[in-house]
């Protein structure tokens, strides 16, 4: 019975939890030959969400790709989430996605209808984003994989990198944390009902609305919180910006269920990798329960935008964003570089 194969059972890791550790990747790429080009204003060295290449004075090309094994069993939803997640990197750079290519791996036991539904999810997400899927590449393999390679555009002066945060900025996060832990629990049928629907809807929601609002504010820096978790991505922002980031744990939005599930030990492997990667840079001030820390290290599939902008503008921006993303919140602030990159308060 082909149709009865649960998609997530075909996957060994879930969603962004499948991502290779940030440290591992940096080591592997060390010392490779590469051309330098002044038009490449954001490249790999910046550890940013996407690369940015200036075409002319009005236009910069933003390129990114993202794909992962099934994170949910519903093929349409999986396709949608994978595409939304891939498109997100363009939004995180302040751009608009325009063209996309499918990246698809079909595993043994997947019905044609399942594959069609995955693709339909991807096409729907791209359509909603205003992007066109122009083709792609499909192979057969051991595990299903789906995602997109996306090209988008922005004005070269309005590209938002993860290295522009300034002391005095507030940090807005547009989606609550905990989906990595919760999807891990769902794989073991330990999460269902409303909570599962809630995170599915969240992961299937484009960061387009938040991006469209954000670009009307004096945003200094932006990234999306995905595989490296809030702490990993904050660490990259702090390092890139030469600042320290203070995360006010009490105000960080997260799904309540995740706290209970984390304390029961349903913590995805990616969270441990993220901890190993960022831990040395993080100073924990006060008593922050281990389960809460797990949430901050939890890889987020199709997570929200992390936006740094001056305190004065943050409340107005948050209010507008909340109309579209009710779970958004201010998660911390930026100071000049202190002893540690990240402070948990």
């Amino acid at each position: 019975m082909e149709t009865e194969v649960r998609l997530t059972k075909l996957a060994s890791c879930a969603g962004c939890g499948a991502k290779l550790g940030a440290g591992t990747l940096a080591q592997m790429l060390e010392g490779f030959r590469a051309h330098s080009d002044p038009r490449l204003i954001v490249g790999y060295d910046k550890s940013d969400d996407a690369s940015v290449y200036v075409i002319n004075e009005d236009t910069a090309l933003i390129q990114t790709t993202d794909f992962f094994p099934p994170i949910v069993d519903d093929p349409y939803l999986y396709g949608r989430i994978a595409a939304v997640n891939a498109l997100s990197d363009i939004y995180a750079m302040g751009g608009e996605p325009r063209l996309a290519l499918n990246i698809l791996c079909v595993a043994e036991g997947m019905a044609d209808e399942t594959v069609r539904e995955i693709l339909r999810g991807g096409y729907d997400a791209a359509y909603e984003a205003g992007a066109i899927i122009t083709g792609g590449h499909t192979i057969r393999g051991a595990e299903p994989i789906y995602g997109l390679a996306v090209s988008g555009f922005a004005h070269p002066d309005r590209v938002l990198t993860n290295s522009g945060a300034k002391p005095g900025d507030a940090l807005i996060l547009t989606k609550p944390l905990g989906v990595g832990i919760m999807t891990t629990a769902a794989k073991a049928d330990m999460l269902e009902g409303e909570a599962l629907t809630r995170i599915h809807r969240q992961m299937a929601t484009l960061n387009k609305a938040a991006r469209d609002i954000m670009i009307r504010y004096p945003v200094n820096s932006c990234t999306d919180v995905t595989g490296f978790a809030l702490l990993g991505h904050s660490y990259e922002m702090a390092q890139g910006s030469g600042c320290s980031i203070h995360l006010t744990v009490g105000s960080i939005p997260y799904h309540e269920e995740a706290l209970e599930l984390a304390s029961m030990g349903l913590v995805p492997e990616g969270a441990y990798r993220n901890r190993a990667y960022a831990q040395a840079a993080v100073q924990v001030c006060g008593d922050i329960p281990l389960a809460m820390q797990d949430i901050l290290y939890d890889p987020q599939t199709s997570g929200g935008l992390l936006i740094a902008l001056p305190q004065e503008a943050a409340q107005d921006c948050l209010r507008e964003i909340r109309a579209a993303c009710p779970g958004a919140g201010i998660v911390g602030y930026v100071t000049k570089k202190q002893e540690h990159d990240i402070y948990l308060e």
Partner: protein, 206 residues
């Protein structure tokens, strides 16, 4: 007392924890539970699980790709030192998506004094139900019910203490000049109201 060993080697996260949990639950008289796993992350997750349940646990590496986590499972009759909301995965029978919408500070149409008394009685009666609602939404003049001076405050606070989410429409608080008077629950907006109503399995409106 009985001792058990669960071999979770070769199983992907989160199955080691899930299998350990099942085994521990079956050990109703307590005993020593040994869980074998093949990676250090599973060890850490099992240690979290043991801490959560209040079991003493020790881990050792026995060979390359073989770790054992040994935990002392308390008898089921013993008090569970774990935090509240144990078994959050099991649906709470009292709160299966029931949403109560308090859309005015009176109940029904007619004499206002009677309407107010009925509303107070309704909220009081809510506190006495076996099945409490999951959420209480207050909007339009229902916003008065959660603010200082309301005779419904005490009952709403009691409901909140029982885990019921009490939310009042922010626009409504603004409109009636009640912004600083909110005395129970949180503030919400129209998107949240719509989402909660859509997600509710039943909506009760007095």
């Amino acid at each position: 007392m009985m001792n058990r060993t669960v071999d979770a080697r070769g199983l992907a996260c989160p199955l080691p924890v899930v299998n350990a949990k099942k085994a521990a639950e079956e050990m109703t008289d307590g005993g020593v539970l040994t869980v074998l796993v093949d990676n250090a992350i599973a060890v850490q997750n099992l240690q979290r699980f043991a801490a959560h349940k209040g079991y003493e646990a020790a881990a050792e590496k026995r060979a390359e790709k073989e770790y054992a986590v040994v935990m002392t499972v308390g008898a089921a009759a013993d008090a569970q030192p774990a935090p509240p909301q144990e078994e959050a995965c099991a649906p709470d029978s009292r709160r299966r998506g029931m949403l109560v919408a308090l859309t005015a500070n009176v109940m029904g149409t007619g004499d206002e004094k009677l309407g107010r008394a009925l509303m107070k009685a309704f909220v009081f009666a809510l506190t006495k139900q076996d099945q409490l609602p999951e959420t209480i939404l207050c909007y339009n003049s229902g916003a008065y019910l959660t603010c200082e001076g309301a005779d419904t405050l005490e009952d709403l606070r009691a409901l909140e203490a029982e885990g019921v989410t009490v939310l009042t429409c922010g626009t409504c608080l603004d409109f009636y000049g009640l912004k600083d008077k909110l005395a129970v629950g949180g503030v919400t907006n129209m998107y949240d109201i719509v989402e909660r109503m859509e997600a509710a399995s039943s909506i009760v409106r007095p």
